[in-house]
């Protein structure tokens, strides 16, 4: 028991956690993000309806306003859309999809970017030249364009049913493959600096192979900045996915993310059904804001000079 309390006390006393405790904005961000996570994970449990399951949707209940308004019904707290789907449930399921796409694409970019950056920075020479040129080329293709193109190519090449089902994977792929450059650049810069440090030379004198040195010595020293980039990129990935879905080249209405919901709602905004567009927008903004706040805090932690 004593060791448990000792352990807890040491965690609470750790620099990172202490920093968190002293920044109210970060605490709020952390709480909000955690709540959103839990909500997304437990979507089937907290929503009164699974809006993606057509059997549970009642067309007669369509276009109902939120519960606190005149025609509202308490069962559908935030109202329903034109097909009778509960807005609250849609938002939670949409949140889930936005988060899944965001995370998966960040993992993909991270993996590609860190590997290429480490290789490029450590090996130098022509490897470095090629990878950096590739980065330049990639930067001339803004993510949105890449995603639109890939979506179009997939739509042309794949049969309609397969295309609908793989919308999520296509999105993850297009965002993931576009986001590797920041990781690569930062890791490359760090690798180039660390490579010259004496502990790397000592490792070479100990006859470790270059790969072993790059992975076991250099890589751990790049983790801090990577964490910061990953958080900021998560916000960007969520934002990009939402934008693509809004444009109609992201998640389809049958499996809508928050962006898709805004797109659908936008068409009905002028007819007065404002709740269909406002609530998904709100959730989207809150999500991105929370992640950005967290990223900001993380960056300050790793760069205490700026406080």
């Amino acid at each position: 028991m004593a060791t448990l309390t000792e352990g807890i006390r040491r965690i609470l006393d750790h620099d990172l956690v202490w920093n968190l405790r002293s920044s109210p904005a970060a605490i709020i961000a952390a709480i909000v993000t955690s709540l959103l996570f839990i909500a997304a994970l437990g979507a089937p449990f907290i929503t009164p309806q699974n809006p993606l399951d057509l059997a549970s949707v009642n067309l007669l209940d369509s276009e109902l306003p939120p519960a606190w308004m005149a025609d509202g019904v308490s069962h559908y707290i935030l109202g329903t859309d034109t097909q009778g789907r509960d807005i609250f449930s849609l938002v939670i399921y949409g949140l889930r999809i936005s988060l899944i796409v965001g995370f998966l694409s960040v993992i993909m970019s991270l993996f590609i970017g860190v590997s290429l950056g480490l290789w490029s920075g450590y090996a130098g020479g022509w490897v470095d030249a090629i990878i950096m040129r590739a980065a330049d080329v990639k930067l001339s293709f803004p993510t949105i364009l890449v995603a639109i193109m890939l979506n179009g190519v997939a739509k042309t090449l794949l049969p309609a049913e397969v295309f609908q089902k793989s919308a999520l994977l296509i999105l993850v792929f297009s965002i993931g493959i576009s986001g590797w450059v920041p990781y690569a650049r930062v890791v490359r810069g760090l690798a180039m600096v660390e490579k010259e440090k004496e502990y790397v030379q000592a490792a070479r004198l100990a006859r470790r192979s270059h790969t072993a040195i790059a992975v076991s010595h250099v890589l751990p020293n790049t983790l801090g900045p990577i964490a910061v980039i990953a958080t900021i990129n998560l916000a960007l990935a969520i934002l990009t996915e939402a934008t693509l879905s809004f444009l109609g080249v992201g998640m389809p209405p049958t499996e809508p993310s928050l962006g898709t919901l805004v797109r659908i709602g936008n068409e009905y905004m002028l007819s007065g059904l404002w709740w269909i567009v406002i609530f998904p927008s709100l959730m989207l903004v809150v999500l991105i804001l929370a992640v950005n706040l967290f990223g900001d805090w993380l960056r300050d932690v790793f760069n205490p000079k700026l406080r």
Binding site: S140, L145, I148, L284, V285, I288
Partner: protein
């Protein structure tokens, strides 16, 4: 100096060539151009004839060279959807997008840099904190949400500004501009803000963090030790040092504005290239798609080149070599 420019130009050409290559691959291999142009009723003989006419049976490198040559002369063929030369379509739409991007850029740059400097120097203070909080909101709002909100407030509720279209435009040669008419200018305001807001907050945050970083360097400390007044330190020493890293990143951001214009054009029904692009993708109108990509790449690369030249002009360490001899 010249070697630097040459070097950069070579890099630029490589990038454009790569982009063209990818465009070309799409052009040739995605979907069947013959199918798209002729329709389903045409017989195999007709198709074969068309294939020979379009040169689709030639080896790939030959086709690419032909494509590249034509592209260099701004000839991208005929649009599948409209049966009109692609170049003509782009020329109609280009001014709209460019004007929008230019206005958004000016908005983002001026406000971004000014606010960034202010919050970098005055780190505490209510106004500074308020601006910083707004900046956080700025990078968390997707541009389509901003657009929708602005339309909701300024068009629907207050009815001050239009919610779609360019308003009245005046033609100068093949260029059309909305800046010369009141309705044109009014129509530009909301879309420019929508497009530029994200970039503005990004630039602001960047300038702020660079400024704070620079103010902690040794040479600023030495300047203070010499008794130089704060005004001189901020505006002569800190500012120039801050702007150098800012220039590079800003260049990249402006390039991406051209891509982000797609979203703004969708929200405001702005008749620019972005809207054209989206529709072309939906219709698998490959000539338009590849032309758009090449054009964007060229614009990107030109902006980067200008940024590099600016960098070179500003930093004496690049201009004058390291001559560590006495």
């Amino acid at each position: 100096m010249i070697s630097f420019i040459l070097h950069r130009c070579v890099q630029a050409v490589i990038v454009v060539l790569t982009v063209s290559f990818v465009s070309f691959m799409m052009f040739t291999y995605v979907g069947d151009p013959v199918n798209n142009m002729v329709g389903e009723e045409a017989g195999p003989a007709e198709r074969a004839e068309l294939r020979i006419k379009l040169g689709l049976d030639d080896p790939v490198p030959v086709q690419f060279v032909r494509f590249a040559k034509r592209a260099a002369l701004a000839d991208f063929g005929i649009s599948y959807r409209n049966a009109v030369p692609v170049t003509q379509l782009l020329a109609e739409r280009l001014p709209a997008t460019l004007e929008l991007v230019a206005c958004a850029t000016i908005f983002a740059l001026t406000l971004g840099i000014l606010l960034g400097i202010y919050t970098g120097i005055k780190r505490k203070g209510i106004l500074s904190h308020a601006i910083q909080m707004l900046s956080l909101a700025g990078i968390s709002l997707p541009s389509f949400v901003v657009g929708i909100l602005l339309i909701l407030v300024f068009s629907i509720m207050l009815n001050w500004l239009p919610s779609f279209g360019r308003g009245e435009v005046s033609a100068i040669g093949w260029w059309t501009t909305g800046l010369l008419t009141l309705s044109g200018v009014k129509a530009l305001i909301l879309p420019s803000i929508t497009l530029g807001l994200y970039q503005m907050t990004l630039i602001m945050r960047l300038v702020r963090s660079e400024m704070m970083e620079v103010l902690r360097t040794d040479h600023i400390k030495f300047a203070r030790a010499r008794g130089l007044p704060e005004r001189l330190i901020y505006f002569r020493h800190a500012l120039k040092n801050t702007l150098i890293p800012v220039i590079t990143i800003t260049g990249l951001q402006i390039g991406s504005l051209i891509a982000f214009a797609i979203v703004t054009e969708t929200v405001f029904q702005w008749p620019g290239m972005g809207l054209l692009f989206i529709q072309a993708v939906e219709f698998a109108d490959i000539p338009v798609v590849s032309a758009y990509l090449v054009l964007v790449a060229v614009m990107f690369v030109s902006i980067n080149l200008i940024v590099d030249l600016l960098y070179y002009a500003v930093d004496p360490r690049l201009r004058i070599g390291n001559a560590a001899t006495k």
